[in-house]
Symmetry: C3
């Protein structure tokens, strides 16, 4: 596996600067558990979050945003309808959109809906190993919303999923893998304490949306987003005393991120 | 613009003491992004938050609370129905209610609903410049839920809105303006880092509700509420390392607020 | 009132170790105000939270979880339907479930629904004095979601409620009382600052769910859960500067809890 020359501290610094200058509006269809943390992560990074999901508002919001992020946590039939509207609207407006298949594999209706959304051609998909394997049609061993599998095991599934959907697919874990179906990038940033803060993966996908909004190559955008998340996490872990201060320090780290901490595979 | 003698460190200290003694029950119809932060801000200040929004509960709750706060973030048709019920019930029971027109101006249905709610005669309205201008029927340049305009530009709109609705109207930003249509107060507390924490404006409106619940003159109550918010923000910024610790320090500052930090125009 | 020999620092340490080893999946039907804090408290403790509440997902999720927690905050008719499905499904699958009767007593429809849920035989019920008294059919003086009564006053009501429902019933406050209808345990851990953080009681009930999931005697499990909550609270209060840092320090304390701080009655 190789990481192209495009993922370097210099290009990452340029992406961070662009986020702060352009302040992309990222429209998140997400769940009540992580909505606050997601919005705060985007604000801390310099992006502008929006969370509209009223059935009479969502399509307009999605079309006017710079990127849309759809997160399947706490899915309901009504929220599924609204999410589909947002994805259709983003696609019609030529806006990138990212899918976070939270809990896919654990419960059949959610898996089917995620596979259905994939037909609307997301720009990127980010999940843990279980979720990506389930979305690609494999048994991944997920339990609740946590991964039962190592991220390496899901790389083959991710490549196939990228091939079938046209999305850049990322499997995050101790090592992150990002693929467009052909190339596979690996990232080694992050810290174990991130797994003790709810919504870290959801924040990562929101940051994917922010980076996609800048309009560069999707593979690079997704890799930059996951590098940002991982570097913020490992920076936070330097001072965190536990899961609570980890969450706080993660938000504090985002505006002052050191791109030189980037560790590619 | 003049600030009446009623807004002083001494009267602010009296309001703070009254909040802690009376513990007003503030009923918030708000959104999932800010619900936790709003409730924590009210608790930290000494007030008692409630967030009921079931269609069979909301009217009774609103009538029995000491004040109601209606926040339009994440509006949906169903939540609009419930919000209207709460406003009607508060008004019928003679309870003050405050409106936070989140995102008004960005999406037409939300703007129409906010204008519709204004006919139910809110006691106070607090928004950023774009929201207040849109609510008054002007193009304000809002983008998503953030303001695209400076708060000074919205003062004329705020005065007209106060005149047409009977509400005290506040435009918050680097400087806060509070008007009853005739008088205009200005406040200079606050800190730029407050814009990096989601729900700071929503917390301000909830605190407006808490101060209105005490039953004094509405113009003074709204000014005190925004002074509390601003002083807590600038106190928090003294120790915050970034947006995460800013949110935490804001809540820590509320129970120990120094009224002598008040800076009127 | 006596505390049996089963509630000791040694048995508490064993429960903590078991939580971290087994990582029980706790399915929470809860409200938007506390969802993030609840999930983070469970993660910090070593448990695995899930929050699914879609009508087509909830029954499967509840049956596959190790315990279910039903929290009545922000109740709506639709959420009531989903909660009943979760309780029925948990019971049918032989899984323990805990009820948090948030706000019961303040609003009649919520009280009736909580009493209705009690017929589905919860394994445990945890509330403040007003809530437990109202659930047992007495006037408790609740106001909004806060208790208007001292926890001692609710002990008789708790014993009757335990007798009529078969649940272990806990009344929490400055002193916690836990009863199976016959025995009454008392715990003296905790700190006043816990009352200034929204969702502390909800987190306690979620932790009750996590401890019930381990499968020991329910009376001991509930007592251990409330001891964990109280010890984490008083540990957090040693360093907290106010309500914001209290919330953070509470989460930080959970993975590093000192069982020797246990203070039984």
């Amino acid at each position: 596996m190789t990481t192209p020359a495009s993922i370097t501290p210099t290009t990452l610094a340029a992406t961070l600067a662009l986020l702060r200058t352009r302040r992309p509006l990222v429209h998140n269809l997400t769940n009540a558990v992580v909505a606050n943390f997601t919005a705060n992560a985007l604000l801390a990074l310099g992006a502008a979050p929006a969370m509209a999901e009223g059935i009479d508002e969502v399509a307009d919001f999605a079309a006017s945003a710079d990127a849309v992020v759809i997160n399947l946590g706490m899915l309901s039939p009504k929220r599924a309808t609204v999410m589909r509207m947002a994805a259709v609207s983003a696609a019609a407006a030529g806006k990138p959109w990212a899918l976070d298949p939270v809990g896919v594999g654990a419960i059949p209706p959610r898996t089917r809906f995620a596979q259905d959304l994939c037909r609307l051609r997301p720009t990127a998909i980010r999940g843990n190993a279980s979720e990506i394997m389930a979305l690609a049609g494999e048994a991944g061993g997920g339990r609740g919303v946590d991964s039962g599998a190592q991220s390496e095991a899901a790389v083959a599934a991710a490549r196939r999923l990228a091939g079938s959907t046209g999305a850049v697919v990322a499997v995050t874990g101790a090592v992150d893998y990002i693929t467009d179906g052909t190339r596979v990038l690996t990232l080694h940033n992050g810290h174990e304490l991130m797994t003790r803060v709810t919504g870290m993966g959801c924040a990562a996908t929101a940051i994917v949306g922010a980076c996609l909004a800048l309009g560069g190559e999707a593979l690079t955008s997704v890799a930059h987003a996951l590098a940002i998340t991982g570097i913020a996490g490992e920076t936070a872990a330097l001072t965190a005393l536990g899961p609570g201060s980890m969450m706080v320090a993660f938000l504090d780290a985002l505006p002052a991120l050191d791109p030189k901490r980037l560790r590619t595979g």
